[in-house]
């Protein structure tokens, strides 16, 4: 539930796929399509001569290479920067607090009351870890549409009813809400996984 821009991810993957598809089929078609192979050959020859002319026409003073090479390096650096931007886009969106409101109901400009995510995480994990039917708990918070959302992930043992897990976890969150004064928006995810399968398979109910 992080802030990854999923549309960007998909557009990026699509474009890379498209480029690979076009380049790959262009290369594969050479054997079966003489006209296309001839075009490729012509284009290769003319591009070669154009490049040679361009390189000899724009030498960097005092060296044997052209400004064009320098330009190519800059283009590559630009591509690398773009990739770094895309990588930096992944993830993020964590929220440090689960709750924020003015201390005084009357005066909205008064100091603000903040409940730190780690407080909720400690409290919930402490309660959840005592439960015999769960093997793992993660608690965090994310900002969804500028609103903090508490995220509780639990991994129950094999065979435990998710309905029971949900009800008990919700009860804990309600208790937390009583302490904090207001129920934070909550997303609960119930996971299966290696830990559940490998965990000691005891009958808990």
């Amino acid at each position: 539930m992080n802030d990854t821009n999923r549309a960007l991810n998909r557009v990026f993957i699509f474009l890379v796929g498209l480029i690979l598809l076009v380049v790959g089929s262009a290369a594969a078609a050479l054997q079966f399509w003489p006209w296309w192979a001839a075009r490729w050959d012509d284009a290769g020859r003319s591009a070669g001569s154009v490049l040679t002319d361009a390189f000899t026409a724009t030498p960097v003073p005092g060296t044997d290479f052209s400004w064009w090479l320098l330009g190519a390096v800059l283009v590559l650096l630009g591509l690398v920067t773009l990739m770094v931007v895309i990588l930096a886009n992944v993830g993020g969106g964590g929220s440090r607090e689960i709750y924020r409101r003015p201390v005084s109901e009357q005066d909205a400009s008064s100091d603000r009351l903040l409940i730190d995510t780690s407080f909720a995480a400690e409290a919930l994990k402490h309660s959840l870890d005592k439960r015999p039917d769960l093997v793992g708990t993660t608690v965090g918070a994310f900002t969804v549409k500028r609103r903090p959302v508490l995220h509780v992930g639990v991994t129950p043992r094999q065979g435990v009813s998710p309905r029971l897990v949900m009800e008990e976890t919700n009860r804990l969150i309600d208790n937390l809400a009583q302490v904090v004064g207001d129920a934070p928006a909550t997303c609960l995810t119930i996971h299966s996984g290696l830990r559940a399968r490998l965990g000691h398979d005891q009958r808990v109910r």
């Binding site: 993957i13 699509f14 890379v16 796929g17 594969a28 070669g48 044997d64 928006a185 299966s192 559940a196």
Partner: protein, 191 residues
């Protein structure tokens, strides 16, 4: 208090395609760095790591005349296939094996595996079977329960069916699950 639960549920039940993005971005970065290194080495007049830029260009330009042609065709076809797979990957919904459990005021998401093991446990309890003799698989809209009775001990078909129905109904899932119960005609040797 309006919370964007629809958005949360959508994000929790669909793949963000993050892994593919990271892998692709890293590969492209590496390729760019390699090409850049070759160019810089060329500019410094140093020997190339693998091929000089001029040789690489010449190779691409001469692609139609290189031998063996079959290898080039194969390589091209492979690239095209990878591209096609990536495009499908980008467009496909990327739905995860999860369901939403209805609860007022909260978003609750359950892995299908949790549902399956819970249904299996319930069936085993109702049918008085040892663990592992009810195999349940849960897909997006269907749960298939396969019961293997212990040889010589008949199981109560109707009780199993109603237990499965009740169990699934108690989850109140979106999308709802239909179910099929199959009791095998051949049993296993009791343990």
């Amino acid at each position: 208090m309006t919370t964007p639960y629809a958005r949360i549920v959508r994000r929790e039940t669909h793949s963000p395609r993050t892994v593919t993005t990271i892998v692709l971005a890293c590969l492209i970065t590496l390729a760019c760095l390699y090409l850049g290194t070759e160019l810089v080495l060329r500019m410094l007049g140093q020997p190339a790591l693998l091929v000089t830029p001029a040789d690489a260009f010449g190779w691409v330009a001469a692609l139609p005349t290189l031998q063996p042609q079959a290898a080039i065709t194969l390589g091209g076809a492979l690239l095209a296939l990878i591209g096609l797979v990536l495009m499908v990957h980008a467009v496909a919904s990327g739905r995860l094996a999860r369901h939403q459990m209805m609860h007022e005021g909260r978003a609750v998401i359950v892995d299908n595996g949790v549902l399956a093991s819970s249904i299996a446990r319930r069936v085993e309890t109702v049918a008085r079977l040892p663990q592992g003799q009810a195999a349940v698989s849960v897909s997006h809209r269907r749960a298939v329960v396969e019961v293997t009775p212990t040889s010589g001990i008949p199981v109560d078909d109707a009780a199993i069916r109603s237990a499965v129905e009740e169990e699934i109904a108690s989850y109140d899932l979106r999308p709802p699950l239909r179910h099929t119960v199959r009791v095998k005609t051949t049993g296993t040797i009791g343990s």
